[in-house]
């Protein structure tokens, strides 16, 4: 068990704790391969998906994870606009808790919201993505996938391409992969890689060809179209010309390198279809593993005793 009430970020986890989650997820992954994919582990518990920002993918994954553990699931979507108008964030969360929630899965466009609510709530809070801070379960499922494909993470050269500055997926992955002993390379235009990140035991590349050379894992991030308007790069065409994952570029990596993407993909921008659908792509396996990892997190948090 984790002996933690909440999963707020990878920052807050040790390498041992990450490994425990991955090991536990392995067991649940086997369950998901069975005919009957449900276990009675958390029967009687209630899970609330409290999403202040829409995300069908993540919400569905958490919903399935919760159901496969036999908890009751409620989806509570709150458009941020209505929160601004009326009920405060804290009130909303307390209301959800009063409905009997044992697990509250939170996604919010502001960084730190799960941390703020975790302090106010008795229920276990799981961060499903907060602002540009973290998306811990995505990083865990990525680590799980890499470990499954490569046997270990220690010593691997892992290249993350894209908008590091605004990507919670990238942040969580950087923390987790460093903790697990990988050598992390960050690739993208200087406008999208904060200079300070170099202090974090990563290597920064602005030329994708240099960054991909000899890599074991290539992870590319979804590029947000609105960054273009803010001057982070001049056009998506220029972005994809310089930082898109193409067969030529992927060929620079190790022969057995795998390609990952947290989804949803902008095909033809950060990744071309030949790569996304090609033999090295593990993108769909990432999705399946997401359920197992989220089951593991919920299961491990359920053992918390205050």
């Amino acid at each position: 068990m984790l002996n933690k009430k909440d999963l707020l970020g990878i920052k807050e986890l040790s390498a041992e704790e990450i490994t425990l989650i991955l090991d536990t997820a392995g067991g649940f992954r086997d369950v998901l391969g069975r005919d009957i994919k449900k276990v009675p582990t958390l029967r009687g518990k209630t899970t609330v998906n409290l999403f202040f920002e829409p995300s069908t993918r993540t919400r569905t994954s958490f919903e399935l994870a919760a159901k496969r553990l036999s908890t009751d699931v409620i989806n509570f979507s709150v458009p941020t606009s209505s929160v601004v108008k009326g009920e405060s964030l804290i009130d909303t969360a307390l209301t959800v808790q009063a409905l009997g929630a044992d697990f509250i899965i939170i996604r919010h466009s502001s960084s730190g919201v799960p941390h703020l609510l975790a302090k106010k709530l008795r229920a276990s809070v799981i961060n499903a993505g907060d602002g540009i801070n973290e998306h811990p379960t995505q990083a865990l499922l990525d680590a799980f996938t890499i470990r499954e494909k490569k046997g270990t993470i220690k010593g691997l050269h892992i290249a993350i391409v894209g908008d590091i500055a605004h990507s919670r997926v990238a942040k969580s992955n950087i923390y987790s992969l460093i903790k697990l002993g990988a050598r992390v390379r960050l690739i993208g235009p200087p406008t999208l890689i904060p200079a300070e990140i170099a202090d974090m035991n990563v290597k920064v590349f602005h030329k994708i060809e240099e960054g991909l050379k000899g890599a074991d894992v290539l992870m590319t991030l979804r590029i947000q179209m609105e960054r273009q308007d803010k001057g982070f790069f001049p056009s998506t065409e220029e972005y994809s010309k310089n930082w898109g994952l193409t067969p030529d570029r992927v060929a620079l990596a190790k022969e057995d390198a795998i390609v990952m993407h947290p989804g949803p993909m902008n095909r033809g921008i950060e990744i071309v279809s030949e790569i996304a659908d090609g033999p090295r792509s593990v993108i769909l396996e990432q999705v399946t593993n997401g359920i197992a990892v989220r089951m593991a997190v919920m299961y491990l948090l359920s053992g918390y005793r205050r």
Binding site: S88, L89, S110, S111, G112, H115, L116, K171, E196
Partner: protein, 443 residues
């Protein structure tokens, strides 16, 4: 009401007083000040005998005596940067609660920023504030008028008329004047009325979306950063404009090393510029926001250890001549929310003294130097008669127990704003009495 403060350690930088002595107050004015074991004393030598005679017999019984042995007596502090929130945001603070917080913190003169609703950009609003302060204020309230109408940066406010009504300085605090030509005009025009222009230095195009200092912590917390350069660019712009125009420029809340260097450079060049910092900028670093505590969210943001050291050096060598609070009270509900949505500001009046006295313990400043930055210097910059124990001046006095240790607990603040990152801090040095225009308050 006659009050005699006896045997306190009096420090009054305006007269160079630093010694044990007595102060006699009558009719809300300082009648007499006598310092024993130092050379410095007031001109009131002859009157001393006279009043002694008068104080004999029956009259002596009407005199309230405060035994200030073991206590330190200062001129009431002058805070040239507070937000009293009235009119318009009375749920955050009112003139009544804000001035009560002031005197509790040892301040007897506060200068309130114009970002109220309506904005203090018109003599009618100034008049309202002056009237409200006269009716309900616990201390002197001197309004700072807006530089531009609505603080929108487009048209100059009626600076002359507002000065006539009581405004003593002008600032678009919180909504910096981005247009350089408008800032130039303000610095030029204000010369006619000999009033300082106070600049909240922030290049809004560079700080856009930022909620904390830019650095590794902003990256690892997923909070958008405000680089130190957003402040420095405007400090330098305004210094250049002050040189160009000969206007009186005062830089509000200096938070970065670079700004200190720029102000130092400007002074060396003989440009008319003064500067203030606030206790949080020499007491806390950006680490205070790591756990998303919006009570540590302030603008400009808390910076780094290096900036703190530079600010201390700036205080020490006189580059920064004023410590102001930037008292910015907010309602608890506003702070208890998404970090990036919460308003900026710290309720500062009731912790300023304790935090600033740490500078004396750390030997950054001597006690008289510190008090100068909280009394004489702001008064000089604002061109007001305050922050002095001069004979004949208002009896604005604070009597402090320097040894009194306490734990900061916001619930006990007189201010409506309980928003402080210093909750739970152990500080030393508290006012035990405040005299505001002769009225005695005991804490």
């Amino acid at each position: 009401m006659k009050i005699l403060i006896t045997q306190g350690h009096i420090i009054d930088p305006s007269q160079g007083i630093d010694g044990t002595g007595d102060i006699y107050i009558e009719g809300g004015k300082i009648k007499e000040i006598r310092v024993r074991n130092r050379e410095q004393r007031t001109e009131g030598k002859e009157q001393r005998g006279k009043s002694k005679e008068r104080r004999s017999g029956e009259e002596a019984r009407e005199i309230q005596t405060i035994d200030a042995r073991g206590l330190t007596v200062f001129p009431g502090f002058v805070d040239m940067h507070v937000h009293l929130r009235e009119p318009g945001f009375e749920y955050k603070e009112t003139i009544r609660t804000g001035t009560l917080a002031a005197i509790k913190g040892g301040f007897t003169t506060v200068c309130c920023m114009p970002n109220t609703n309506p904005v203090n950009d018109h003599a009618s609003v100034t008049e309202f504030i002056m009237r409200k302060a006269a009716q309900e204020g616990y201390c002197a309230v001197l309004p700072i008028g807006a530089i531009t109408k609505g603080q929108k940066g487009r048209e100059l406010a009626e600076i002359g008329t507002m000065k006539h009504e009581g405004c003593i300085a002008f600032s678009d605090d919180g909504q910096p004047v981005m247009n350089s030509l408008m800032m130039r005009r303000a610095l030029e025009y204000s010369k006619a009325f000999n009033v300082p222009v106070i600049s909240h230095c922030e290049d809004l195009t560079l700080s856009e979306g930022g909620v904390m200092n830019e650095g590794l912590i902003s990256v690892t917390r997923g909070l958008r950063g405000i680089p130190a350069e957003a402040e420095m660019i405007m400090v330098f712009r305004d210094i250049l404009l002050a040189e160009l125009t000969g206007g009186k420029l005062h830089i509000a809340h200096v938070s970065t090393e670079g700004s200190v260097d720029l102000v130092r450079y400007a002074k060396k060049r003989g440009i008319q510029v003064t500067a203030e910092t606030c206790p949080h900028y020499f007491s806390l670093t950006e680490k205070a926001v790591e756990a998303y505590d919006a009570n540590a969210k302030v603008n400009p943001p808390l910076r780094t250890e290096r900036d703190i050291e530079a600010i201390k050096r700036g205080l020490q060598d006189g580059t920064i001549e004023v410590i102001a609070t930037d008292h910015a009270p907010h309602h608890a509900d506003e702070k208890l929310r998404e970090f990036d949505q919460a308003p900026s500001g710290i309720s500062g009046l009731e912790t300023a003294l304790g935090l600033s006295l740490r500078l004396v313990d750390e030997k950054v400043l001597t006690l008289p130097q510190l008090i100068e930055k909280m009394t004489l210097n702001p008064s000089k910059i604002m061109g007001i008669r305050a922050g002095t124990l001069n004979r004949g001046s208002d009896a604005d006095i604070v009597i402090v127990d320097r040894e009194k240790e306490y734990t900061v607990s916001p619930e006990q603040f007189a201010s409506k704003g309980k928003n402080t990152p210093f909750s739970g801090w152990e500080l030393r040095g508290l006012p035990v009495f405040t005299l505001s225009r002769g009225k005695l308050h005991e804490w």
